[in-house]
């Protein structure tokens, strides 16, 4: 066989690629304006309870408390 002959592998891979692309081409998509609006909405709804954004008082954040002293 000549070195240019396509192997069964190449053919299989090409078939799989085409099948995968057909699947991806078929999915339903929404506009970025709508997708973005939903992302913004989610942030706005949850931001007030995001400790790293709102900051929580040292007394409530175990990591901000001073480490307890140990008596040796």
């Amino acid at each position: 066989m000549s070195s240019k002959a396509p192997s069964a592998n190449n053919l299989n891979q090409a078939r799989q690629t085409v099948q995968q692309l057909r699947l991806e081409a078929r999915i339903e998509r929404i506009k970025i304006s709508q997708a973005s609006a939903d992302i913004v909405k989610y942030c706005n709804q949850h931001q007030k309870s995001d400790p790293l954004i709102m900051g929580i008082p040292a007394s409530e954040n175990p990591f901000k408390e001073k480490k307890p002293c140990t008596v040796l």
Partner: protein
């Protein structure tokens, strides 16, 4: 897209040897498939472009800007003898598991910085570790090509290695692992180019995921409300979204210019972020089926090793190979803070389960808790 059926076989002259005929037919089929491939790719880009009516940061123009942030190192966890490669939080929001090039896996109490457990793996470069949802076990692996589960004993003197259970077997290094929503199943990604879902008890392979063209470096499970999918990123510059039940790749994104080291779902499950060796983080929306934001600066030229969102998804934290952490406003696309402290690459970064702090691991052998 109208698909042209493969041409019917040409009539052959009795003078042409059979093999040459077959070769011609195979060549035609391959050529047809390649043409169809290209046509579909173009069509995909056209469909995605049609929906590109606005940028995320434009929609977010009216959103109030974030104030100044004061985030500092609150704890430093010292104990590893070499580069920290991976870490994960326990659901109790205080325990952490970390793994290192020195072959050790350590469980820490992050409040007190005490080490609660330590296991020595039979290999170096333990690149992946994960805490079980129950808090009663940890999983880890790396150059041994396996993912093993260690039940955590209450008895600190007990030898954890004795109870080790080998779960996953890949044909190349384990790059990431994650329990699903129970202690019973583990999802893994590997340098062998595949991801796989395993039953912990039996070690049985439940599903494998093929599609990446090179090493898979990272994965993240969708938040449980959004169903059975996960995203993976790899050296082929692709981020793939998979259906866990069928093994099918449902969406694929290829806009990064280099390896994708980290992927993380946005808390709503409708999008995910990625971090890459191309020094950018990107946000991909799953319903729009495209990249919707890039987080980059000309001054940032080192790769991103790890990304995670704050609880609301408004902030994106990125750990970089230039030893820093950059904090991004996800909506506006701007950097809000840069954090210094580590003395070598930041290799891993995770926000705590209740969002009160985040932890970073570094090649400087330490872990830091920031709040």
């Amino acid at each position: 897209v109208q698909v042209n059926p493969v041409k019917s076989q040409p009539t052959t002259s009795p003078l042409i040897p059979e093999m040459a005929t077959q070769e011609v037919q195979l060549n035609e089929t391959l050529a047809h498939l390649k043409t169809e491939s290209e046509t579909l790719k173009t069509k995909l880009e056209e469909e995605r472009a049609k929906l590109h009516d606005v940028e995320l940061h434009q929609v977010a123009e009216k959103v109030e800007a974030l104030g100044q942030f004061v985030m500092k190192t609150r704890r430093t966890l010292k104990g590893h003898g070499n580069k920290v490669l991976c870490m994960d939080w326990c659901k109790d929001k205080r325990r952490i598991v970390s793994s290192s090039q020195d072959g050790k896996v350590i469980v820490w109490d992050a409040f007190t910085t005490n080490k609660e457990h330590a296991v020595t793996m039979p290999c170096t470069w333990v690149m992946a570790c994960a805490y079980a949802p129950s808090g009663c076990a940890v999983a880890c692996g790396g150059l041994d090509n396996k993912c093993s589960v260690y039940p955590l004993s209450l008895d600190k003197n007990e030898n954890l290695a004795a109870k080790k259970k080998s779960v996953a077997m890949h044909t190349n290094y384990l790059s990431a692992c994650s329990f699903t929503n129970s202690d019973m199943q583990i999802l893994t990604s590997s340098g062998d180019g595949t991801c796989a879902l395993w039953d912990v008890e039996s070690g049985q392979l439940l599903q494998s995921f093929h599609g990446h063209a090179a090493d898979v470096l990272c994965l993240d499970l969708a938040p449980s409300e959004t169903g059975n999918t996960f995203v993976s990123g790899g050296c082929d510059k692709k981020a793939n979204v998979w259906d866990m039940r069928s093994g099918q790749c449902i969406q694929s994104f290829e806009t990064h210019e280099s390896d994708i080291n980290s992927v993380r779902y946005y808390p709503s499950g409708d999008a995910f972020a990625s971090g890459s060796d191309d020094a950018t983080c990107r946000l991909y929306d799953l319903r729009a089926d495209r990249e919707v934001a890039i987080y980059s600066k000309e001054s940032i030229i080192f790769g991103v090793s790890s990304v995670d969102f704050s609880l609301s998804g408004r902030l994106l934290f990125g750990g970089y190979n230039d030893y820093t952490i950059n904090v991004w406003d996800v909506l506006k696309g701007t950097r809000v803070s840069i954090l210094f402290g580590h003395e070598n690459r930041v290799s891993t970064l995770r926000v705590s389960p209740d969002g009160t702090a985040f932890c970073t691991g570094s090649w400087d052998h330490t872990l830091r808790i920031w709040a």
